[in-house]
């Protein structure tokens, strides 16, 4: 497909890998923030093309992985209610709550539907006015405009049987959290290209300044990622720290202001708990008071406080780039994508799941 295939060109990838090797003369640790990039790196074996001095660690950028278990439990309770149609993106269906997941609840008879877009859920609400339709609104800044538009349309069209269970998270506060961690090893970031398509990259400039760390806004295809790594290593070798943009075909400094405006109209910034990482200040979005009528947590009085974060799992350290999946004692023997024990095995974009699927040597 145009604008995809050319960025998977093996020859260009090899040339970038060689160029990276040519300029690298000491060890560096870089974090790719986004789970989509993690997936591509492991799938295409990009890390194996790099010189041994370079370590890629995998960041917290997988919304499926970081949705807190309490909220998963609440989604299960809501989905099980009579007269509820619960709509979700497909990747949330297998995320384990404390005792079960959405798929197993569906098998027991709950009306759970996988949708491609939040707008499909809104259409469902119009089609079944006698039902309560709930959409599980997870995601980063990339997904926020779609969810904002859906809630805004529900408001404008006065769709009363529609609500959203919001678990939106924001990338820059999580990057800051990684940098503040006492055992932080990250020396440079590849920032998530599609998040920046929406938000631009002004928010990252203070991080560059404050932590004196290079940040390169990077795309998702192998050649993009390799160029992003090259640009980041070049800065490190030259002792520069700047904000650079590799993904210029989709990202401008200002981002998509129309989308930003609607996000601000519908959502407010709030503290959020991240699965495996704990609460991070000002790291999430919740509905503005004007739209509170669409908040599923307010509409349905759900009480289930039995959730406990997983214990032996080291996904918190993986999400912060301190450890790698194959360093977890549970990896592959106890913890698999069929029976995930932690956040990062849950989604295909989680680092543990990517290693499980594509790494043969461990």
């Amino acid at each position: 497909m145009k604008f995809i295939d050319e960025y998977r060109d093996g020859e260009a990838a090899q040339k970038y890998a060689q160029a990276i090797a040519n300029i690298t003369d000491q060890p560096w640790t870089i974090m790719e923030v986004c789970g989509g990039q993690t997936h591509a790196i492991v799938k295409f074996g990009i890390d194996e093309l790099l010189p041994s001095e370079i370590t890629l660690v995998h960041g917290p950028g997988c919304p499926v992985c970081v949705t807190p278990i309490e909220l998963i439990d609440k989604s299960l309770e809501i989905a099980s209610l009579p007269d509820v149609i619960f709509c979700s993106f497909g990747d949330m269906l297998r995320v384990p709550g404390t005792y079960k997941d959405l798929l197993s609840v569906k098998a027991k008879g709950a009306d759970i539907r996988m949708v491609y877009s939040p707008m499909d859920a809104l259409e469902m609400a119009k089609k079944y006015p006698q039902k309560e339709v709930v959409f599980f609104a997870v995601g980063f800044e990339t997904t926020a405009p779609a969810n904002a538009m859906t809630v805004h349309q529900a408001y404008k069209q006065k769709i009363e049987n529609f609500s959203v269970l919001v678990s939106h998270v924001l990338v820059p506060p999580a990057m800051k959290d990684v940098l503040c961690s006492p055992n932080n090893q990250v020396q440079g970031f590849l920032a998530a290209g599609h998040v920046c398509t929406i938000m631009g990259y002004r928010e990252y400039e203070p991080l560059v300044e404050e932590y004196k760390i290079p940040i390169v806004v990077t795309g998702f295809e192998p050649v993009d990622i390799l160029q992003g790594i090259y640009m980041c290593i070049k800065q490190l070798q030259e002792k520069r720290y700047e904000l650079e943009n590799q993904y210029t075909r989709f990202v401008h400094r200002e981002g998509n202001t129309l989308a930003q405006n609607l996000i601000k109209e519908v959502f407010q910034v709030v503290p959020r708990k991240w699965r495996g990482m704990g609460e991070i200040p000002q790291s999430g979005l919740n509905l503005q008071d004007k739209y509170a009528q669409f908040d599923a947590l307010k509409r349905f009085d759900i009480n289930c406080n039995y959730a406990q974060e997983e214990t032996k799992c080291i996904s918190g350290l993986i999400l912060k780039g301190v450890q790698k999946p194959d360093q977890c004692p549970l990896f592959k023997n106890h913890c698999t994508p069929e029976h995930p024990l932690g956040a990062t095995m849950v989604s295909s974009e989680g680092a543990c799941a990517a290693y499980y699927q594509y790494r043969k040597t461990t």
Partner: protein, 83 residues
């Protein structure tokens, strides 16, 4: 989750917040909301995520990745040629 893929606009209808378009992803056609890409015209490539176009491909910039590579190579050759 933040997966977004580029597709080509075949047709558009409506305007402002309810503007939508038929977008082809290598032959698979989907109805996509174009509210966030008001400048996108028929024939343009838009980046699509969960049913919404979130940006238009900057075709002038699309080759940058490869130009950068060429410039690097030329620079290398230049350095090698220097005495």
């Amino acid at each position: 989750m933040c997966l977004a893929i580029p597709g080509k606009i075949l047709k558009t209808t409506g305007e402002a917040f309810i503007r939508t378009g038929q977008v082809s992803f290598g032959g698979i056609i989907k109805q996509i909301n174009l509210a966030y890409a008001p400048e996108a015209k028929v024939g343009d490539y838009v980046l699509v995520h969960v049913g919404f176009a979130i940006g238009v491909v900057d075709e002038k910039e699309a080759n940058r990745v490869f130009e950068y590579l060429r410039e690097m190579e030329e620079l290398d050759e230049l350095e090698q040629d220097l005495p």
